[in-house]
């Protein structure tokens, strides 16, 4: 067992060159979210009617389906980064942290894929009667 402090152990080794990756991705997805959710709110305000036929027709348009898929993907990417920090800050037990991180990854990937599939299916095949 090495008796140096943690900082003493890594000092002088140089950076791993990906220290800023998480931080940058969080900001980039945040910019994407500002744009995409602004589109979503404006688009919602312009829907003439909220009955099923009108909504299905709205969502099936390429210019709605594509930004919707982008928004779902971008939000879950951003949520993954943010909830990862929450877990790192508040879950201290190594085993629990591993379990929480695994669940988080399952949650965001499964949810995003589900959302993408739902929108793509409607756009490609139309709404069932």
């Amino acid at each position: 067992m090495d008796s140096r402090t943690n900082i003493g152990r890594v000092r002088g080794l140089g950076s791993a060159k990906h220290g800023g990756e998480h931080w940058l991705k969080q900001r980039l997805t945040a910019i994407g979210n500002v744009l995409l959710t602004t589109w979503f709110v404006l688009s919602l305000l312009m829907i003439p009617s909220f009955d099923h036929a009108a909504l299905a027709q709205w969502l099936a348009q390429p210019l709605v389906a594509v930004p919707m898929i982008l928004m779902i993907t971008n939000i879950f990417a951003h949520a993954r980064l943010g909830l990862q920090v929450l877990i790192e800050d508040y879950v201290h037990d190594d085993g629990l942290k591993f379990a929480a991180m695994t669940l988080l990854n399952f949650y965001v990937i499964a949810s995003a894929v589900f959302g993408i599939f739902v929108v793509a299916k409607l756009a490609f095949t139309g709404a069932p009667a």
Partner: protein, 148 residues
């Protein structure tokens, strides 16, 4: 890794400090982010899936989330009120997270750290989120729920 000693002193945490807008906005950013990532996104996905699932499936969504109508069951009515609270929480979370997120962009370029400016913009983010939420709630209540 050193073994953990549970008796080590803890630094003062949320319940010790006097609350200020600057610290409140930090914890609210996390809490609202959590609400959006869970309740917000699950409701959005249910809505999208209900639209994709057809008229019947969308009617079920409306009965449980929006309004069961006069002949709704007790469970549906309770669910309606639950989702009204969720909608309010998610709407506030959206505007709060957006406002404090925009504030973060300003802080990220190194601006807005002077004590007075920092405090002011933290307060502005809360006030903006509150009024935006109130505006949406009034709009929805008058257009869709027949209230007002």
């Amino acid at each position: 890794m050193m073994a953990k000693n549970p008796n080590r002193p803890l630094s003062p945490h949320l319940q010790v400090y006097r609350w200020s807008p600057q610290m409140a906005i930090s914890i609210f950013h996390r809490a609202t982010g959590f609400v959006l990532a869970t309740a917000g996104m699950m409701t959005l996905l249910w809505w999208l899936a209900a639209i994709g699932g057809g008229a019947q499936s969308y009617a079920t969504f409306q009965q449980y989330v929006v309004s069961a109508g006069a002949d709704g069951t007790v469970v549906q009515m309770a669910s309606n009120w639950f989702f009204r609270l969720v909608a309010l929480a998610v709407t506030f979370s959206f505007f709060q997270h957006l406002a404090s997120g925009l504030r973060h962009f300003v802080l990220d370029i190194g601006a807005g750290y002077e004590l007075k400016a920092n405090r002011l913009w933290a307060s502005v983010a809360f006030v903006a989120a509150f009024f935006a939420t109130a505006l949406v709630a009034l709009f929805v209540a008058s257009r869709f729920l027949g209230v007002l």
